[in-house]
């Protein structure tokens, strides 16, 4: 397992915390929390824990591209069990949409 940390610029803020996905084979879970009081509201803080080592660059590129289009500030925790970049993107978008939508 590898733990990767990234930061990206942001100018939107999630409305509420959201949890999507599951740490199942080929999938991942995402926990997204809006910035707490005192935390910067212009930064995406990402921590990835992945079961597959050695894909730092791929993670960086996938995340950078996503947060360029979806600059949603907050603490993003990704617990990954070998998801492909496609699945990662779907989960990221699912989390972003849910975090801006009605609180369920």
């Amino acid at each position: 397992m590898q733990t990767l940390n990234y930061q990206f610029p942001a100018h939107e803020v999630a409305d509420h915390a959201i949890h999507v996905g599951v740490v199942a084979s080929g999938d991942l879970e995402i926990l997204l929390q809006p910035p707490a009081t005192g935390e910067p509201s212009d930064t995406v803080v990402v921590r990835v824990r992945t079961s597959v080592n050695g894909f730092d660059t791929v993670w960086h590129d996938v995340l950078e591209r996503f947060f360029l289009r979806t600059p949603l500030a907050g603490r993003w925790e990704l617990n990954d069990f070998g998801a492909t970049p496609g699945v990662v993107n779907v989960r990221l978008r699912q989390a972003a949409e849910a975090a801006k939508g009605p609180n369920s």
Binding site: H19, V23, A24, S25, L31, T50, S51, N79, D80
Partner: protein, 583 residues
């Protein structure tokens, strides 16, 4: 319309139109399943992902943890009645029971029991999708299953505990014992219930014993329809969220079952059913059981006489640590309950041990494994003591002398419902503990897996000899290595830092449920001093059991637990704190 008939086997009670309109339950994740069963808007998740009670044991092994450890605890109502649902996420670690996920289930059930006692009956619902104990947390997972079984039995007289096995993982391993303890068990045709999974049986017994690639065989033995048709499940419902909710409403409204009438208490039924089977001489086809046993859980006619010829009695019984210590501790010759379950009854205690029976008609249980007849005999022996001491103030102790290689891995064990037989023994031990009998387990040899769950892990007090021949674990090392895709060397290396994975009894003693590690000179041929040491320790343990709680809370409150089971203790605190909504 023969096609239609063939298909309706998979869709009982559903037309094609209903099938197309249905909302699949199986396709939902753990949270989705809990949501689908509860009254709309009533769901409240406890110890959810943002509480981050994840397993402390996975990341150090290089395995990504899940924030809620793969088990959703949800409170809410079903048809207006308070319930707590434990929904296992089958995608995460195959639904395996770990320290945290297991503690979440047992503590939720205990809180439901407390509410029920206080006047608000709160039903428990467990959605079983699990391969059993999570081998990466081995001994803590095994103990967690014992605590879940105990909690189900604590709640069951106060409010119904409903088990649902929907699929697709199904219920395997020790959690199937828990399923066998439920007030009612609801299954779909896609469900499977068994103690040992097909791959494990194939690996332990060879491909002739069980071909794990033979899907027809797997479903014929473990499938939801088979379990329902043979009375080991109560409701067979198609994979439809609304129909499953309907079955759950009915089950909860049905309330608690009268004492003595639970499947796991019906030793009469179990005995009569097992008496129809003789796998060594006359192997049965699983389909035959549907007529032989039928759907109702009532005694059946014995078709041929078995067990009437005393087997293994003429020859000298094999010498094992179990038999040796039984004799040494009591000074009396062990008497067979059945040839493979030996007992000595003294004025103050009943001692029980599983011993090899080379002539066992269940041929996979000839080396001292806990099989169906052993589980039944244990249950009977324990229930006999409860009954005999009914009016006595000072209940006799029950001492489980534990030396067993494992549960029996066999095709006919699964056909016969080994999980249900083990549930009967688990239930009996729990009942004895609740009735005030001090239960002391003393591990003198190997204590592995489901065997230990059945014979030992419901005890108030657990002692073990500090001896290299003593091994307590969820699975023997070679098999655990194969299942977790590691080598034995890798497992040994991991065990140095991951305490619950260790095969060393001194590490096991750190897990919080060891009440004494006893030094002896010769565990195989105990010296008089060894015997005196162990006898004194048992006597002390009996005293502690009489003074201490009759539940299993000492396993969380012991000094070792404070150090090692911090995660379980955090689960207990957090669930208690979140149990009632903030006002």
């Amino acid at each position: 319309m023969t096609d239609m008939n063939a298909d309706t086997a998979l869709l009982p009670g559903q037309t094609w139109a209903q099938l197309l309109a249905r909302r699949s339950f199986i396709e939902l994740n753990a949270l989705g399943r809990a949501t689908a069963l509860l009254d709309p808007g009533s769901l409240r998740v406890l110890a959810g992902p943002f509480d981050r009670l994840e397993s402390p044991w996975l990341a150090p092994q290089g395995i990504t943890p899940q924030a809620d450890d793969g088990t959703v605890i949800a409170r809410g109502t079903v048809d207006g009645r308070p319930v707590v649902i434990a929904s296992i996420e089958q995608g995460f670690q195959g639904g395996g029971t770990g320290e945290v996920s297991g503690a979440k289930i047992s503590q939720a059930l205990l809180l439901a029991a407390a509410d029920s006692r206080a006047g608000t009956p709160t039903a428990g619902v467990i959605l079983f999708e699990t391969g059993g104990v999570r081998l990466q947390e081995a001994n803590l997972g095994l103990n967690a299953v014992a605590e879940i079984c105990s909690a189900i039995l604590d709640l069951r007289p106060l409010a119904p505990v409903i088990g649902i096995v929907a699929g697709t993982v199904g219920s395997f391993g020790g959690m199937s014992i828990a399923a066998g303890l439920c007030t009612r068990l609801i299954v779909t045709p896609q469900a499977r219930i068994g103690l040992n999974g097909p791959a494990v049986i194939e690996q332990e017994g060879g491909i002739d014993e069980f071909d794990s690639h033979d899907h027809a065989l797997i479903w014929a033995v473990d499938g939801g329809e088979q379990r329902y048709a043979t009375g080991l499940a109560d409701d067979l419902v198609p994979d439809d969220a609304d129909l499953l909710r309907g079955a759950l409403v009915e089950a909860i409204n049905g309330g608690v079952t009268e004492p003595g009438r639970h499947r796991s208490e019906r030793l009469d039924v179990l005995a009569s059913r097992l008496a129809t089977l003789d796998p060594a001489a006359n192997p049965v086809d699983p389909r035959e059981l549907r007529t032989l046993w039928g759907r109702s859980y009532e005694p059946v006619a014995t078709t041929f006489a078995v067990g009437t010829t005393p087997t293994g009695q003429d020859a000298d019984p094999p010498v094992t640590r179990g038999r040796t210590w039984l004799l040494a501790l009591t000074g009396a010759a062990p008497q067979p309950i059945i040839p493979s379950v030996a007992s000595v009854t003294t004025d103050s205690a009943r001692y029980l041990a599983i011993v090899p029976d080379p002539d066992n008609r269940f041929y996979r249980a000839r080396k001292g494994e806990v099989g169906v007849t052993e589980a039944l005999a244990l249950a009977q022996a324990v229930r006999d003591v409860i009954e005999a001491d009914g009016d006595v103030e000072q209940k006799r102790a029950i001492v489980a002398v534990v030396d067993l290689p494992s549960q029996a891995y066999g095709r006919y064990e699964e056909i016969a419902g080994l999980h249900q037989a083990m549930a009967a023994a688990t239930d009996a031990y729990h009942a004895a503990r609740m009735a005030g009998h001090p239960i002391v387990a003393v591990v003198v040899g190997t204590a592995l897996s489901g065997g230990f769950l059945t014979h030992g892990l419901q005890a108030n007090q657990i002692l073990a000899l500090d001896d290299p021949g003593v091994e307590i674990h969820a699975m023997h090392e070679e098999a655990a290595a194969r299942i977790t895709l590691r080598t034995v060397d890798e497992l040994d290396e991991l065990a140095k830092t991951i305490v619950p994975m260790s095969y060393d009894v001194e590490d096991w003693a750190k897990l919080g449920y060891c009440d004494g590690l006893l030094e002896v000179q010769d565990a195989d041929a105990p010296t008089p001093r060894d015997v005196a040491t162990v006898a004194a320790a048992i006597s002390d343990a009996i005293d502690r059991a009489r003074r201490g709680p009759i539940d299993l809370s000492t396993r969380l409150d012991s000094e070792a637990a404070v150090a090692t089971r911090q995660a379980s203790r955090a689960v207990r605190d957090l669930l208690a704190q979140q149990w009632n909504p903030e006002s």
